[in-house]
Symmetry: C2
Subunit: 218 residues, 2 copies
DNA sequence: GGAAAAATTCGGATTTATACGTACGGGATA
DNA sequence: TATCCCGTACGTATAAATCCGAATTTTTCC
């Protein structure tokens, strides 16, 4: 998004901050606001009546939250760490979108990216094995780190193992075991469980979806 | 969408028909066109290199196809039966969206609904048991039939058991077994495997996500 | 700075839901 | 008529959940 549209954003929305574990809103709340993450990570999830949880997305700087909402939010949004967001009334954002075609395209591109990510996650949850899921997760994180200008192969995981498990449709024990396994195989390495260095991206890419082309390219 | 916008659609797009099992496009094809289903059912899916398949959506009359595409389609689209679609060049649709704010809202609402559906499917694939998945599937189909003005409790399944399995992240044997089980329990009944009568929607709703409220309401 | 709480990891044992393979019948199709 | 696909059924195999305990580390909080 270009600079002048960010300015438009700031004119219609306030800035809010949230402490770790604080909720921006709960599933079922009336969806009066849209959010855009400025700093920190937000975790979106749905719950079943018996407590089973599915994390649908981790939101980082630049991501919109709430674009898919109708009258009520379809998920709960928790801050994982110290989070700063822009917050604007839906009506204001919609009015602004009527005016600016650039803003419109930005919002549309954002929701389209979100839909694409969700469709990839469907494939992951429906058809991939436990280790393929963890590998895919790490690949996605390294790609995102690269896009954001990171140079090293170290990815930061602000979320807990339980969050990761609830994102990948696994248990935290399974996530732990597979991280250890990757470590033993020399694919990753880490001392701090929240900072993982990817040593062999090619191997990880192959594991992520059994793509033999990735191996040939390496 | 209001009638006058449908007219706008027809002015920029042609109509196309596809025979059963014919593909509208393949994953990776350059995404020059958007589609809108007029009649019939289209199945969207992704494949892993070894052939594992995840169906991301079944599209019925009124649904848009391809809105989430960037340069290339992120999935393959197959006609399940005799299908009629409107087809328009992306550039034309985008130009049209610049003009008509009503069309814009319609497209935006459509992609939002698609995202919502995908997020529900994430919960289903990540955290629900096999029978919960099948129950959820039947509940969604009956709700959709009601919205489209159907009165009876009979839902038509144009897709095969394999398609359903690939949509729900199961095998076709499991889908079969659970249909039989629901039949034995008197929850559904069917002679033709493609026309299923829902006898006990309350029981189905409870099975779909273990929601005790649904039982209390019944 | 220190105590308490939470998160991570490990190991293993058990369980079980569902995949996997195989088979068989029916209906559509060529 | 022969072939193929689809739906159904059944027995076995297995990946991952579940449960359990516990050591260690990290984070939180006073």
């Amino acid at each position: 998004m270009r600079r002048r549209d960010c300015a438009a954003f700031e004119s219609i929305g306030g800035v809010a901050t949230y402490a770790p574990k604080e909720s921006l809103f709960w599933e079922g709340d009336q969806a009066d606001f849209h959010y855009r993450v400025v700093r920190g990570t937000v975790c979106l999830y749905k719950l079943l009546p018996d407590g089973r949880r599915q994390v649908s997305r981790f939101c980082h700087a630049g991501d919109f939250i709430g674009l898919s909402a109708n009258a009520a939010y379809p998920y709960t949004a928790d801050a994982l760490n110290e989070v700063t967001v822009q917050r604007f009334r839906r009506a204001d954002l919609e009015a602004c979108m009527e005016e600016s075609s650039t803003l419109r395209r930005a919002v549309f591109a954002s929701i389209r990216d979100e839909l694409n990510a969700a469709q990839n996650q469907l494939l992951l949850l429906g058809r991939k094995s436990a280790s393929e899921r963890v590998a895919s997760f790490l690949v996605a994180l390294t790609e995102q780190a690269l896009r954001q200008g990171g140079e090293s192969h170290v990815v930061v995981l602000p979320m807990t193992r339980v969050d990761i498990a609830d994102y990948l449709g696994l248990t935290h024990e399974t996530v732990c075991r597979i991280f250890s396994q990757f470590k033993a195989q020399g694919i990753v390495s880490f001392a701090d469980p929240h900072e993982i260095e990817v040593c062999d991206d090619a191997a990880l890419a192959v594991l992520a979806d059994g793509d033999m082309d990735a191996r040939l390219c390496a």
